[in-house]
């Protein structure tokens, strides 16, 4: 559990910087319209309840991590096309995705080892490949806003 906790702390420690880096890299109107464009309104985002049992929290955390992992993969893919020069953002997105992957591994092991949960149903975010540029940027910003919010809650919960 300490590793999960540390991972959540690590993610939480870098979430805000990632969010800022993201909307800064998108340029206007994002930095000045965060409330409208980057509000953490992500449909189908898995819920996380900090006051649940450890098992429930782990299951929900797994779903959140799985959702975020794939969604961040999409964002990373989009940003490499939309902002190829934003290498720092790319690096941070990759690093976050790696950490989420490690978190998934740890959570799964914990669920499997302690609660004998070998499989968790997960949901994934919408595919952004068909969206226009602005929508891609907006969805990415909303996702990172949501990520920052949920990781903060999860870090507190564990």
């Amino acid at each position: 559990m300490s590793q999960i906790r540390n991972q959540l702390l690590q993610l939480n420690g870098s979430a805000d910087a990632l969010f800022i880096l993201y909307y800064t890299a998108q340029g206007e109107p994002f930095p000045n319209n965060l409330d409208k464009l980057c509000a953490p309104n992500v449909t189908d985002f898995p819920p996380f309840h900090a006051n649940g049992t450890e098992k429930a929290r782990l299951v929900e955390l797994y779903r959140v991590a799985a959702y975020l992992g794939t969604a961040l993969g999409n964002v990373t893919r989009d940003q490499k096309l939309l902002n190829p020069q934003a290498l720092s953002l790319h690096s941070k997105l990759n690093s976050t995705a790696d950490t989420l992957r490690g978190l998934l591994s740890n959570v799964l092991c914990r669920l499997c080892g302690k609660y004998h949960v070998a499989r968790v149903d997960v949901t994934y975010g919408p595919d952004t490949s068909g969206k226009d540029v602005f929508q891609k940027k907006k969805l990415g910003c909303q996702l990172l806003g949501k990520y920052k919010q949920v990781v903060g809650v999860a870090a507190q919960a564990f």
Partner: protein, 885 residues
């Protein structure tokens, strides 16, 4: 299309070649195993199997097989004939890394023939890799290292495998040159256990290391803290505050630190207690430092729980503690001038500067206070270490304090006794003796308590006066030594030249001198050379080392000597430059200027002598062998009469006779011109040897160029600078024998055909270029004729083009032949006159016909008046005696 054809052809060739080689290389048998790899030291058995067709063809069987290793026969005892076609050999205790094993057969029982060969490799199976460990350099990928075990002598692959509990990572294959480490391709993920192990395999087996399971965060080697800075505090002279920026890894782990420091001149480091810096921080205040002392710091960090690796040391940073008041009173003494006048005496108060660790800062000045009994204080402030005052005979008390930026030292008190004071408790049994290369002084303390002792001494020398030195000792000691300098002078270079170096140094501080500096000795040497010592007077602060070698590294140190000994200063190195200052410029600039000047002169010379150069390099010299006297004739028969090829020249736009004209300087010929003339003369002379003889250039003489020169004829020197060519026709046109031998000359002095000898035989032929509009101004052709009344005929030779065409040659020869008949009749010996400003432009104009019945000294009109082309005949031609056809 062509590419396709080439491709098909190549493919066909390759196919056919492969087929044929396959046939050609079809062996008579084979060895099994084909490519064996065996463990070193083991036995190895191979079997050679012959093919039936070879057995039959060579009338041989397996008993005819001979085994060889590396071209040496294997003892028969190691063979075994298995059956009619198979033979085996066993190699025992194979130690060689590589063995060439061949199976050979005696064909027809006699001829040894190779059947097959294999290479046997030997080595060792891989050992289990040991000591597997990994490190994650912050910001980089994970690298694992292991002990690969003994050398296998075979191609051995090491693969680092890694996986999480839920997924595997890409294998990391070690490079052949670094089989003991591998850098994984993925970024490390912290707080997830990863399992790594090494698998190794070669042809003799595989091995696997122990699995290592760890969290990468426990293998982190952080980046060192950076931007380390040091600041002091005015409030506390014993502290320095360090600040730094932690590496980014601090966001996921707590750090602990090592901080080390030393004084600037020290070589060993002191360490801050680790427990004081066992958690993440970005500053630390170091205490208990000496005032006004420069300290150097460095810092490193690692994960606070000790799992992981220390970072590298940071960049060093230094700082100076703030000043503190001097910690000690200066040593204080006095000297009284023995002269005593009017109730006053001159007293010199002297003191020694404080050592740095006593001064605790920069001493700004000294304050001296003199107090006489029941009198006012007398205060003096000075920067010097001595003070001379006039005192009365009374007793005085002097105090001395040293002051720096922060405060004053304690006062040194000194009683200057009254004039009539008699010491009642003198020091007894004063002895001095050498010991351990030092001069020791020992005395018996008086019975009363003593505040301090002052030792005075001087060197007893016949050559130098006694210059007293002194030192102060506590009242508790009764033995001390006279101190040599405590440190040597620090030498440095003031100026370094190619062969000399000016050294300079500062005078040693008084308190480091420990006496009087008698002299300095400079030791210098090269890396490989012997050390040279130079003694320098103590009053100097610089010295010039001379006779140094350029581009050489020198090491120099200095020793300061007092009477008690010497002390080396630190060694200093310098390198003499390869070139002295300005030497390169001194070489390059003159060379460049000289080159420039030479080039300029060369260009000017070439420009001035362009004609001469042109003459030497590409002179317009016609081939004399292709020249004919007829070409000079002003009266040339129509060419079309002779050769149909001449038709092409019917317009007269060609030159029949080539003439080279050299316009010499009228005033004075250039030496080069003369030289060239000489050359021509030599040529002439040599040609004469081949001619038919002097005194009459025979018709067999070859054509020669003629050059007017002063050597040939003084008369022509002033008038002519034109070189003309004449031709002696020595054969008829097209194998026709001329009826009369014709000689031609250009001038009596010309080296032309030795014409001086028989000028009467000369005939003149003009060279005419019909279209040549540029006529020479001074062209002439004089010929001596027997009849003085005969007007000179002008033979004006214009510089013309070479006539190389055979048609033209034919034409010219014809003209020459025709003209020669006339000349032979009319021209005798006589004077050649010069004609100026004449033109022969039309001399050979097509359709020129008629006869010239009269030749006079006329110009252009002479010819044109007669309806003839402009041509000029030699003077020697009689009227009507020279009639061109």
């Amino acid at each position: 299309m062509s590419t396709l054809q080439i491709w098909v052809a190549q493919a066909l060739v390759i196919f056919l070649t492969t087929e044929s080689v396959g046939e050609l290389l079809d062996p008579c048998g084979y060895i099994n195993p084909e490519s064996p790899v065996i463990e070193r030291g083991s036995n190895f058995t191979a079997v050679c199997v012959l093919k039936e067709k070879c057995v039959d063809y060579y009338h041989a069987n397996a008993s005819y097989i001979v085994w060889k290793t590396n071209h040496l026969n294997v003892p028969k005892e190691q063979y075994t004939t298995i059956n009619r076609t198979a033979s085996s050999v066993t190699l025992t205790n194979v130690a060689s890394l590589s063995i060439q094993l061949t199976c050979n057969i005696f064909a027809y029982g006699q001829i040894e023939q190779n059947v097959y060969g294999i290479t046997v490799l030997s080595g060792f199976p891989p050992e289990k890799p040991k000591n597997l460990n990994c490190i994650v350099n912050e910001g980089k990928r994970m690298m694992c290292q292991w002990d690969p075990g003994r050398e296998t002598y075979l191609e051995t692959n090491f693969t680092l495998k890694s996986e999480w509990a839920t997924e595997k990572f890409e294998d990391c294959k070690a490079k052949p040159d670094t089989p003991n480490s591998c850098l994984v391709s993925y970024a490390p993920v912290y707080f997830v256990n990863i399992e790594v192990w090494v698998e190794v395999e070669n042809a003799l087996g595989t091995a696997t290391s122990d699995h290592l399971n760890f969290d990468p965060v426990e293998k982190v080697k952080p980046n060192p803290p950076h931007n380390l800075s040091v600041s002091n505090s005015e409030e506390l002279s014993s502290i320095l505050k360090l600040t730094w920026i932690n590496p980014n890894i601090k966001t996921i782990m707590t750090l602990k630190y090592n901080i080390e420091y030393r004084t600037k001149d020290a070589s060993t480091w002191s360490q801050i207690p680790p427990e004081d810096i066992a958690s993440t921080r970005f500053s630390f205040t170091v205490q208990d430092l000496k005032p006004f002392t420069e300290y150097v710091f460095r810092i490193r960090c690692m994960r606070s729980n000790g799992k992981g690796f220390w970072s590298d040391w940071s960049e060093e940073a230094s700082g100076i503690t703030y000043e503190d008041r001097p910690s000690k009173a200066p040593s204080f003494w006095y000297k009284i001038n023995p002269s005593h006048t009017h109730g006053y005496r001159t007293v010199q108060l002297i003191w020694k500067t404080l050592l740095p660790f006593e001064a605790n800062g920069k001493i700004l000045d000294y304050e001296v206070t003199l107090t006489r009994w029941k009198s006012h204080l007398q205060n003096y402030t000075t920067n010097d270490t001595k003070l001379t005052v006039n005192l009365t005979d009374d007793r005085y008390i002097a105090t001395l304090t040293a002051r720096n930026l922060v405060g004053k030292s304690d006062a040194s008190a000194l009683t200057i006794p009254a004039c009539d004071f008699q010491a009642t408790h003198p020091v007894m049994d004063l002895k001095a003796f050498p010991k351990d290369n030092m001069l020791w002084v020992e005395w018996t303390a008086p019975s009363k308590s003593v505040k301090k002792y002052i030792l005075e001494w001087c060197v007893l020398s016949d050559s130098s006066p006694c210059i007293p030195d002194w030192q102060q000792e506590d009242g508790t000691v009764h033995r001390t030594y006279l101190r040599a300098p405590s440190k040597g002078p620090i030498v440095r270079t003031k100026k370094v030249g190619k062969n000399e170096a000016v050294l300079e140094w500062d005078q040693l501080p008084v308190d480091a001198q420990n006496g009087f500096i008698r002299n300095y000795t400079i030791f210098y040497r090269t890396v490989i050379g012997n050390e040279t010592a130079v003694n320098v007077d103590s009053s100097h602060t610089e010295y010039t080392l001379s006779s140094l070698t350029s581009d050489t590294l020198y090491m120099v140190r200095m020793t300061a000597y007092t009477d008690e000994g010497g002390k080396d200063g630190p060694e200093f190195t310098f390198t003499t430059p390869k070139f002295a200052q300005g030497e390169i410029e001194a070489i390059v600039v003159p060379v460049c200027l000289a080159f420039l000047l030479t080039t300029l002169l060369g260009v000017l010379f070439c420009f001035n002598k362009r004609d001469l150069i042109k003459k030497h390099i590409w002179p317009n010299v016609p081939d004399p062998s292709k020249s004919h006297i007829a070409q000079w004739s002003p009266h040339t028969p129509p060419r079309h009469n002779f050769n149909s090829k001449d038709q092409m020249y019917s317009d007269g736009n060609f030159t029949d006779v080539s003439v080279v004209e050299i316009e010499a300087n009228d005033k004075k010929p250039f030496p080069e011109d003369l030289k060239s003339l000489d050359l021509f003369k030599k040529e002439k002379i040599s040609t004469e040897g081949h001619s038919s003889g002097i005194g009459g250039s025979s018709c067999m003489s070859s054509s020669r160029p003629s050059i007017s020169s002063s050597d040939d004829n003084e008369s022509t020197q002033n008038t002519s600078s034109t070189v003309q060519y004449s031709t002696v026709v020595h054969s008829g046109y097209r194998h026709q024998v001329p009826s009369v031998q014709v000689f031609s000359r250009s001038e009596s002095t010309q080296p032309l055909l030795d014409s001086e000898e028989r000028p009467e035989d000369l005939q003149l032929v003009d060279n005419v270029d019909n279209n040549d509009e540029i006529l020479p101004r001074q062209q002439y052709f004089k010929q001596n004729c027997s009849q003085p009344e005969t007007s000179p005929d002008i033979s004006h030779f214009e510089r013309s083009k070479q006539v190389s065409s055979s048609n033209e040659e034919d034409f010219v020869r014809l003209k020459q032949q025709q003209i020669s008949d006339l000349i032979s009749q009319s021209c005798g010996s006589g004077q050649i006159k010069m004609f100026q400003e004449v033109s022969t432009a039309d001399a050979f104009a097509p359709g020129t016909e008629g006869q010239v019945e009269r030749f006079e000294a006329v110009g252009m009109e002479a010819a044109t008046d007669e309806g003839m082309p402009k041509s000029y005949l030699p003077q020697t031609v009689r009227q009507g005696g020279y009639v061109p056809q």
